[in-house]
Symmetry: C2
Subunit: 238 residues, 2 copies
Amino acid sequence: MNISQRSRANPPEPLRNCPACPVRNVSVCSTLDTDSFAELTSIGMELSIPAQTTLFSEGDPVHSVYSVVRGVLRDFRIMPDGQRQLVGFTLPGELVGALLGPTQPYSADTLGPVVVCRFPRTAFWDYFSRTRRSVQGVYGSAARDLGLVYDQLSLLGARSAERKVASFLVGFRDRWHRGGAGSLVPLPMTRQDLGDYLGLGISTVSRTLTALARRRLIVIVPGGVRILDHAKLEELTR
Amino acid sequence: MNISQRSRANPPEPLRNCPACPVRNVSVCSTLDTDSFAELTSIGMELSIPAQTTLFSEGDPVHSVYSVVRGVLRDFRIMPDGQRQLVGFTLPGELVGALLGPTQPYSADTLGPVVVCRFPRTAFWDYFSRTRRSVQGVYGSAARDLGLVYDQLSLLGARSAERKVASFLVGFRDRWHRGGAGSLVPLPMTRQDLGDYLGLGISTVSRTLTALARRRLIVIVPGGVRILDHAKLEELTR
DNA sequence: CGAGTTGTTGAGTGTATTCAAACGCGGTGG
DNA sequence: CCACCGCGTTTGAATACACTCAACAACTCG
């Protein structure tokens, strides 16, 4: 099922209640000045997307960027041989969709039910050229597309499975809790997804997680893990 | 040795002979209209940089972007444990330096003697906001920072050394010859560099290359390799 | 020509993988 | 309510592969 099929079932709706938005204060919206925020509110549309639905595909011409309100997106490329390489996950409060460039560099689909705000990309360009001093604010939300990718490069370059998994858990924890405290790391993706993201086999992911659990660094709970020993886990990433 | 030490020895020079520039027709300069090109020419400075010299470091505030005229840059990050992860190589005709964001996401140094043109980043922003329709032109040169990184993600996600090396050779060949024909792939970096780029040990890189040579897919020549069987090599990347 | 660096190759080890089987859980239908 | 099924996950055994350590060769540079 793709987005066009879906949108017939759940048509876009104008933004009505931004103040109550769960990511109002962390998303790109929090970086805008009052006028720009009002403008964005007036042109943004809210989409509710079912689980396992493609939001956009690699190579699609870019018309919109999306701010994730609820749920998690899986970003991936399909290699010539059919092998899938996950290039990231988009969490609530994060932007997805190329800010630059004519086409999407990867595909994105939903891990579960997802709510996003859709904005015409030109709105960001306008904002970009109008208030250059805030470029860094918009960039803060777009940082996924740059800094985070380099982080993942470093992650994939790691030689041991333990290190990859530990790095992933620590990074995902920080993103999920936005740097704040918090030990619960939701893992809404399958082990297969994790393997495709980390460059590991599915069994290796599972084995590594259980090994960490046996050493009491984490506990595996339904839908994720709980980190018991943050210090030791971070030690493994170095 | 870093760039500030170096620049005393080889001071920046104004651009005098752009028409004779070896990358005049492939670099970012080729994407600009006449006026913008004239403006860029007037503010750009040419730098000659010795081998093994740092151009900028991760975390540096970004004032300039650089267009490589001659030579190759090595782009890398240093991990907390001292391990180095190469995130790319910058070839002649390509841009390096963050177009967005306050700081450089990685360090860059020279593999050999390098000549670059330095431009204030704001010049690109001005151009960006002035001629929105040409964003894609500038983006074409900045694509390294987006599309190419995703390519490398896919590369690092590969499970076998053979596939990584083959993918690297094919990709590097295409970039070097800009999609055109050509069998010679210069490899100005060390095997250690290749290993840090591909997430492999130095001996594995060496073994894999000799294995490819034994199968007559490539020949190892001084300073690079020559591809004998393009089809079979590309087959290995899938 | 000698010293230092970079690259190759061999032997042995360790780790991730493949293949396969069993387990747990949620959903469906009898 | 319970048996069954499908899917994802865990775990085991055997294999394949990349790594470390180390010696040697080739090349660069003084």
